[in-house]
Amino acid sequence: MRKIIAIALVFGACGLAAAQEAGTPPQGMRGTAANLPDISALANITGYLSDDKNDSARNELGVNEVETAFQGYIYPEMRADIILAIHKHDGEYESEICEAKASFLNLAPGLSGELGKIHLDFGRINKLHTHHLPMVDKPAVLTNFFGDHELAGQGGTLKYLLPFMPFYTQLQAGAWTMAAHEHGVTADYPEDVLTITGSTVSVPSLVHADEDFSPAGKTYTARLNSSFEVADKTELELGVSGLKGRGAHYEEHKDNVEVTGADLTLRLWPSAYKRFTFQNEWMHLKRVVPAGTLHRDGFYSFLNYRADKYWDFGARFDYAEGAWPTISYERALSAMVTRHLTETSYWRLQYKHRNLDGENVNEGWVQVSFGIGPHSHELE
């Protein structure tokens, strides 16, 4: 009996030694004795100023968003991320599942998959959570084509690192169901719609309480992106994205939607902390309605300079056409400065001069974003 106990103790000690020798566990695997996942909370406090007297949200300061995350491994090479958020939307707080996904990190060599509610990997910015953006607001092309929130769907995606390429190239495709917006119809009136031949036709249209346009319903996405180390500490990233689905108000408009996009990002690291980023994204929206086809374009160009470990300076130019039948043109120039406190905490000031169909608006933000606890996102 003593012999058995002694052997068991020796094996136990070996097991302990082996555990100590495994090294630091990676993020999401910090499991305490109680086997807790990584738990974190982030808050985004934003103050907004505008000289547009019709803007009901202007001259207010408050909590814009709170996000909590539970992240961990559920099986070897299978990770779960549950991110719950409370957003301020039209002055009211609404809770939602921001993302809840299971990631299968190694389905086959080079192949991974994700299932659940996920921010769609379209272009450079859509998948980023608000607190990860290098700016307070999103470029107009994203809000005009995808709505105020990140475009998120319930479904799945497969990502494949192409094996035969001499540089990083990833191909991915996803199938999603996205919730249509709830809205109230307040009136109808005729509108001129651009047809595929460039002529216009007059169609009855509807005015919605909800002004957001976004794809919804059954939606399919694809993205191909590559990255090249063009010189020492210089990286060029190129991507093309595509989306096919329906409009959020399909029941009224019977609109089929296609969005195509291309992005180019150049990043340079001249020294340990300095970094230049030049990011550009262009999108084209095609809305096929019974009366014709709408074609809309938009892009943004973003330049950012990280001067040292703590300070970032950025500027952005936006051009975006509205997604609605009556075309609108928006041009904006923004400047922002960010002071980083930690990886997840910073404060930011941003100014934006916006011209919407000839009307000029000046806007300003102060943003304080902070995080508590271990919080991680996949490579962005």
Binding site: A22, G23, P26, N106, P109, G110, S112, Y168, R267, T342
Partner: protein
């Protein structure tokens, strides 16, 4: 026909040779150096970070994913210094490199750690590392443990070459022991020398060579110096006659230069990794250089 056969034979030889090499990707240039020493000709090592980078602040990017995708082995610093490696491993989808798999090596495993926090840890303490101070490679004696972890990884990747790796490891340890004796002899007269360091990067180095770290330019790890903190340091340096400020070469010089101006101390900007300065090409050069600079700045204590 002859040409086709010869070309095919050449390609087969080339492919065979390429297969024989173990492809290693390391988080730091020091780990790359140790991999090259232990692996010798059997290994092709590449570092994700360059020697002049702050390992806390490396940005994961797709080209680094591409390097990991092709690797047989990943060697990381661990202890949360290189957390950015996690997202790269996940994005690379290389089954050999996941945590606990045969191609995953954490060089910190088994290193006796300093400054391991006890009790509650939060951001009020600055950018604190919950598993202990991660700058362990700055004690050259710890490189034996780092090299042993790497050796174990190589043996898993190519068990048939275990003998070669063992011999290379032994040669590395022999050279380290010789160098260590020299460094300790040179540093003996500085035992108890009080220094200020920019960040809490030097406790392992200080313990090995008997230096006394009397304060940091940063009030807390990762927090930039304030005027009040620097003022307090000036008083302390004057009161305790502290004449050396040791700082990584990538940290801003404003704080150290201010202290030096007020106290007459000498700033020693040190490359803390191989490749961190023009004449710091290897891991051993890191210590040769910093000890030489300390000798110059501290003079005869």
């Amino acid at each position: 026909m002859k040409i086709i056969i010869l070309t095919a034979a050449a390609l087969a030889c080339w492919a065979g040779a390429a297969r024989a090499e173990i492809k290693v990707v390391t988080a730091s240039s020091d780990l790359k150096y140790i991999c090259e020493r232990v692996g010798g000709a059997e290994v092709k090592a590449e570092s994700l970070a360059s020697g002049d980078q702050d390992l806390h602040m490396v940005e994961p990017r797709p080209s680094l994913v591409y390097k990991l995708k092709k690797a047989d082995l990943v060697v990381r610093v661990g202890l949360d210094l290189d957390m950015w490696v996690d997202s790269l491993i996940n994005a690379a989808r290389n089954k050999r490199l996941f945590y606990g798999k045969e191609g995953y090596v954490d060089a910190s495993a088994g290193v006796p750690l300093l400054e391991k926090p006890e009790g509650k840890v939060d951001a009020s303490m600055g950018d604190i590392h919950i598993y202990g101070n991660p700058h362990y490679w700055l004690d050259p004696a710890n490189s034996k443990i780092m090299a042993a972890n790497i050796l174990a990884g190589f043996k898993r990747a190519a068990p048939d070459k275990a003998g070669v790796f063992e011999a290379n490891y032994a040669a590395f340890v022999r050279e380290l022991d010789e160098k260590m004796a020299g460094w300790q002899a040179r540093m003996a007269r500085y035992k108890g020398l009080k220094v200020i360091t920019y960040h809490s990067s030097w406790p392992y180095f200080a313990r090995r060579f008997g230096l006394d770290v009397a304060g940091h330019v940063e009030p807390k790890p990762g927090i930039p110096p304030t005027a009040a903190h620097l003022d307090g340091l000036v008083k302390k340096m004057k009161a305790e006659n502290i004449k050396v400020i040791l700082t990584e070469s990538y940290y801003p010089r404003r704080g150290p230069d201010f202290l030096a101006g007020k106290t007459g101390a000498v700033v020693v900007p040190a490359a803390v990794s191989a490749g961190g300065a023009r004449d710091v090409k290897t891991y051993f050069d890191v210590f040769d250089r910093v000890i030489e600079d300390l000798e110059k700045s501290a003079g005869n204590k």
